[in-house]
């Protein structure tokens, strides 16, 4: 049966044994994920984190000429306000479910919101995103979609996130991509005959997209970039592309796999092009797929030489670095740190599953006893760990970075910072240099208390992580 038959994809926990709570050495992490059965862990104390709804909204914010209707009570759209204010992204409407709607259902309200949005904005596509309340009530969104799809003659795409079915927010990317594939891309064989290559760009920084497009253009390839900045046409073209190419193996996974398995578009996977070595390997793998490996090698030599000259004698030798990043970025930045002679002393990743095993293995070869911490937005654990390790530099991308900075350690934030390709290396080195050259802001923050009791900071950091009892 086609994987796209279902309303939503299988959650990451089930599809890829993905964990969102874990603390253990790199080696034990590999054992846990490679064995017969992976045991899910839960927390007996937890802090606010991302969820599938938020990730779906973030992804949909990047789709052009679209309107997002959130079928939920009013607060579920707060993140949309942030995207709108911070980057001008998206048009956001909330159906504003009230108490009565939670009992009686509210498909009439949803219908009104969809037709209203259509009249107001004349978009190319309307997304209906369900929130927890609609999920619990089991509101019949599909009926509204079927009815209005005919009437309005535009794709209306239901995105069935729940906010509670998965503990891994990344499931929200999968769910949004599933919906796009199912309702926009169409059936196998559509869009055949293009010479374009899909570049899978899921919630990347706009400058990163520009940089990767620039580099790949040097190979003379025409790109079809999705889902970031994509329109309905882009999605339709995707099903007939020559192959799909990676920017982030974790976020894009579902898109690459389904385009391959359901539409026959080969998926060329490669770790993120962060740092000179990884960018070279990434470019060469694209070159190979295009039959232009020699061009790729020449381009890399020329581009990396330029970067090397601009970096001068930059080095991380003797520096102990802590990384708290999303998985694909974390492993790639770990490579970059090693490339410049630094030592990674610990990592926190938002989640960890089967997808990450090969990268874990290469990390374990370099740092066998390295502690791997899996947590999305659990700074109470992270601060506990980082405080013990006392690294010289902390590189992170989470919303709680301001809290981590209270430990008085120089901090570099990669949230909303371009990191990919040759331009990414230069930019990243400039930020690291600045953070290490003048540490006074870290020292200014060091006087502020963290929100935690000293007794907690003395406790073992995995105290609240337990095996889930089924």
């Amino acid at each position: 049966m086609s994987l796209l038959k279902s309303k939503a994809p299988r959650i990451r926990e089930k599809r890829l044994d993905t964990l969102n709570a874990w603390l253990g050495s790199a080696e034990s992490s590999i054992r846990e994920l490679s064995g017969e059965e992976t045991f899910q862990r839960i927390r007996t104390f937890s802090q606010s984190s991302q969820d599938d709804l938020l990730h779906a909204l973030r992804l949909l914010a990047g789709v052009r000429e679209s309107v997002v209707i959130i079928h939920a009570p009013r607060g579920c759209i707060a993140a949309g306000l942030y995207h709108k204010v911070a980057s001008g992204a998206g048009r956001w409407i909330v159906t504003n479910l009230d108490q009565k709607d939670t009992i009686m259902g509210a498909d009439r309200k949803l219908r009104k919101a969809v037709t209203g949005a259509y009249r107001q904005y004349r978009p190319e596509v309307i997304f209906i995103v369900s929130g927890p309340v609609a999920a619990i009530n089991n509101d019949d969104i599909q009926a509204v979609v079927d009815e209005l799809h005919e009437e309005l003659e535009l794709p209306i795409v239901p995105v069935y996130v729940t906010g509670f079915a998965s503990r891994n927010a990344v499931t929200g990317y999968d769910t949004a991509l599933h919906a796009i594939l199912k309702h926009i891309v169409g059936t196998r064989g559509d869009g055949q005959g293009t010479t374009k290559v899909n570049l899978l760009s899921v919630v990347e920084h706009p400058d990163d997209r520009v940089e990767s497009e620039r580099i790949l253009a040097l190979l003379g390839v025409e790109l079809n970039v999705l889902p970031d900045g994509a329109s309905a046409t882009t999605f339709r073209l995707a099903a007939g592309a020559r192959f799909s190419f990676s920017l982030d193996q974790d976020s894009e996974n579902y898109l690459g796999v389904i385009l391959r398995d359901e539409y026959g578009v080969p998926y060329v996977e490669q770790p993120r092009p962060i740092g000179l070595g990884a960018t070279g390997r990434w470019l060469v793998s694209a070159g190979k797929a295009l039959g232009r490996e020699d061009v790729a090698l020449a381009v890399h030599e020329q581009q990396s030489e330029q970067v090397r000259r601009s970096l001068g004698d930059f080095s991380l030798a003797g520096l102990r670095v802590y990384l708290a990043l999303s998985p694909a970025t974390a492993f790639a930045v770990a490579d970059l740190v090693s490339e410049f002679g630094g030592e990674v002393v610990g990592v926190t990743v938002g989640h960890l599953g089967k997808l990450q095993v090969s990268q874990l293995e290469s990390l374990a070869r370099r740092y066998p006893s390295l502690q791997v911490h899996v947590a999305d937005g659990q700074p109470f654990e992270e601060l506990n760990i980082v405080r013990r390790l006392a690294p010289d530099l902390y590189i992170g991308d989470a919303a709680h970075i301001g809290q981590a900075a209270r430990l008085g350690i120089p901090v570099v934030s990669l949230e909303n910072v371009p990191v990919l390709g040759y331009a990414g290396v230069t930019g990243l080195v400039r930020r690291i240099t600045a953070a290490l050259k003048n540490r006074s802001f870290a020292e200014s923050l060091a006087g502020i208390r963290t929100p935690y009791r000293d007794a907690w900071l003395r406790r073992s950091p995995n105290w609240h992580i337990k095996k889930e009892v089924k």
């Binding site: 209707i69 707060a78 942030y82 009230d98 209203g116 927890p132 309340v133 937005g377 907690w456």
Partner: protein, 441 residues
Amino acid sequence: MSNHIDGSRNSCALHGALQLIEAIDGAVPVIHSNAGCGMQHFLGVNRSNAFGCPFGGPPVSSSNISEKHVVFGGSSRLREQLKNTVKVVDGELYFIVSGCSTEMVGDDIPAMAKEGREQDFPVIYANTPGFRGGVHHGYQLAVRALVEQLPDLLKEKRTPVKGLVNVLGIVPQQDPFWAGNLEEIGRLLEGIGLEPNLLLGYGQGVDGWHRVPEASLNIVVSVWGDAGARLLEERYGTPFLRLEGLPVGSAAGGLLRAVSDRLGLDSGLAEHVIQTQETRLRRQLGSLADAYFRAGFQREFALVGESAQVVGLSDFLTRTLGLLPRTLVITDDPPEESRASLEQSLALLVEEFGSEVFFTEDHAEISAVLRSGNAGLVLGSALEEQVAEELGAAFMRVSFPLGERVVIDRGYAGYRGASSLLEDLGTLLLSSATRKFNTVS
């Protein structure tokens, strides 16, 4: 039936309660809901104002319920979360707030709070699902919880303070200038010999809330303080003085006079304070006059914001500064019964000018009324920037969400606030006048 909202700025009740709790030193919110509810709050509220939250990140305690809790109930998960929050997070008061899912499932939140109290944890709770209303409703629910439940936590009786007055009705973050506005109101009240109990902001802790019943007067500066003030009147017989909006400039003098009158204070002192402040303000206006005439300050303006802001700012801009209110949009959805008096007082700002007053929080609707009003000066939130640009109007961020404007302790209330407003608005009008001049030549 509630309608759908385009580009909502009033978030939900849970977020409103969090806004209040985060503004009290030593109070720790314990969210019983989905993992993302607190993050939505952080992104959509804290970050949308660019001056984040005292904890340095998203909410520090959240039960992050999963499917199992939706199916079988999540009370036991809350029990575990609460017990561990007290051990992990430093605080003087743990405040449970619930979200939609746990309310739909029917988790017994009061019982969990009671259990916590029985173990001597300082715990209170409020049921704050988003399907019950927006941030302002959440603010009211949290105030009610504090008033009703805090007395149970108080161990020893303390001596009442003479001349204590509470200030109610300012919703943190939703009024982006909340901290500065409160401090200025406090400064002025101190000037006439009172002890202001500001309750929120720097140095305002749980103890201030314990002292709420001891006040001789509650000063309510927006419609959102009404419910709390009535509750306190009912419980403790505390009278309250209600303003229609923030007192900006001379209106602050009016507030001091009214308070002094109400409490039977020496009117000489109040008059002296008011006179000093008024003289200072007149002097500032005198020095600004040259720029005022040179840059043509006297424009028609549109103002989009909370009712208290719209009333307070437009009062100063029209009655002191001579500007003309074209379009006034009130976004905080005030209760039906308060609308007539708001509308009336705003329509009368400049007689027979024909100001238009709208009540809406819908972004598409707000853009439409701004377009049809076509004022040359737009004061609003980051969401209004685009339409202001479209109209070629000078634009200033004064209401939530501010987006790319950092406000720490700046305020527009009181006399100092009036000076700040003159600085900010003057800078904008001067630079827009210069820009226009340059494009002409």
